[in-house]
């Protein structure tokens, strides 16, 4: 049975409140898969959200002050409200509402930013890498996520994705062609 935005956000909320990184990653995988199949924008936003939360939940610095804890509680409330709304609103409106929650996540990330690349940018790159590994083309993965193609190639090149599938013709045949072209 395919994933719905409502079920995804409910799972994200439960996992966020329990600080369960493993479950957030699993939900992230499911959202990415659904996005690859349907290209529904709401699934991209849910993928970014679940990825971001997995990163936040796993880092003590986001929970180490009353101010940040308060912020987390507000975020949890926002998601809880959204979880109820999602049962009755169309997916495109749902996507916009998730984007507004993501802005809060970005705000939290920027308050103690450690890397040049923002959490959202990292999420998009990671999602693009997974889409490419699953079998979508490089340009398709870039188009669907807004990731940079060079960044994606470098990211994917550092993984084992090319070892997990056939690369077609033997290299000796390709080299024969190269020799015909460049004499």
């Amino acid at each position: 049975m395919s994933l719905t935005p409502a079920s995804a956000i409910a799972s994200i909320l439960a996992s966020f409140n329990k600080r369960n990184v493993g479950d957030l990653r699993r939900i992230n995988d499911e959202c990415i898969e659904e996005y690859a199949i349907t290209e529904g924008q709401v699934y991209l936003e849910l993928s970014i959200l679940s990825y971001s939360f997995a990163k936040i939940v796993g880092k003590p610095r986001y929970w180490d002050s009353p101010k940040r804890m308060n912020y987390m509680k507000k975020m949890s409330s926002s998601i809880a409200e959204l979880s109820i709304e999602l049962r009755s609103i169309p997916d495109d409106i749902a996507a916009k509402k998730i984007v507004s929650i993501l802005k809060s996540v970005e705000h939290l990330d920027q308050s103690d930013q450690r890397y040049v690349r923002s959490l959202e940018a990292k999420a998009r790159l990671k999602i693009a890498s997974i889409l490419y590994a699953k079998g979508l083309s490089l340009s398709k993965a870039v188009e669907m996520t807004g990731a940079d193609k060079r960044d994606l190639m470098e990211f994917s090149g550092a993984t084992t994705m090319f070892d997990r599938a056939s690369t077609g013709r033997k290299f000796t045949e390709r080299l024969k062609d190269a020799r015909k072209i460049f004499t």
Partner: protein
């Protein structure tokens, strides 16, 4: 059949996808194009979309301007020919639509390729050219081994994937006969032609390092393939 608005390109010309330009530029191997251009009667052809993606657009960015500058210089030095593919939009769309109808998941087409890669295929088809340079995996495998792509998708999506034979036939009408090489083949051929001679007794190490670098930069080559390549090439030298 050669499209009338296109110039006549030598049959050894190589239509380039952005993925290979990126791998080689990011690995600091743009000079490989310089060397190989002198060893071919054909040209390195850049569809206009590839030129924009690899040169014009990133020139405006801090992060990737350097590789764009290197490629721009190669264009200015005559090592690449940029081909205006504006009139190929309809053909590009046909190839993309066919390619995106080949695989069905839950009865719906799974869209796996995009304008960029299809523009390269469209130019090769329209110009009657056989050779394409691409490091990206999916497009290449869709042409070379569509059943393999189907199996891969089924494994990755954990579900049955159906193949639309009519869509595949249409796609293959545009792509049959196209032979793909990757940036690693360019590096290997350059090695054979003496590109690494300046390294003297460590030229084999240089070649191995170069092959690993293009792999890490995104060329779709298996780790085992790199090892096999190095063994094969360095044994012959």
């Amino acid at each position: 059949m050669q499209e009338k608005f296109l110039p006549n390109f030598h049959p050894d010309s190589l239509v380039c996808d952005s993925s290979s330009l990126i791998s080689l530029a990011e690995s600091c191997f743009v000079k490989v194009f310089y060397m190989l251009a002198d060893h071919s009667k054909g040209r390195f052809l850049l569809p206009s979309g590839v030129e924009y993606e690899c040169i014009s657009y990133p020139l405006q960015s801090k992060n990737h301007a350097l590789s764009a500058v290197r490629l721009k210089r190669a264009v200015n030095d005559g090592k690449f020919s940029v081909v205006d593919t504006g009139q190929l939009q309809h053909l590009t769309d046909e190839i993309r639509n066919a390619g995106n109808s080949v695989f069905l998941l839950r009865g719906h087409p799974l869209k796996i390729i995009q304008q960029g890669e299809c523009e390269m295929l469209a130019l090769a088809h329209a110009a009657g050219l056989r050779y394409c340079l691409i490091d990206e995996r999916t497009t290449r495998m869709l042409v070379e081994d569509p059943k393999g792509v189907k199996e891969h998708l089924a494994a990755e999506f954990h579900t049955r994937i159906d193949l639309d034979h009519r869509a595949l036939f249409t796609f293959q009408q545009y792509t049959k006969g196209i032979a793909f090489i990757r940036s690693c083949e360019l590096v290997a051929r350059a090695y054979e032609l003496g590109y690494f001679e300046n390294y003297g007794e460590i030229k084999n190490s240089a070649f191995e390092a170069a092959m690993n670098k293009v792999k890490i930069s995104g060329c779709s080559i298996m780790s085992q393939e790199v090892d096999d390549y190095v063994r094969y090439m360095t044994k012959k030298q």
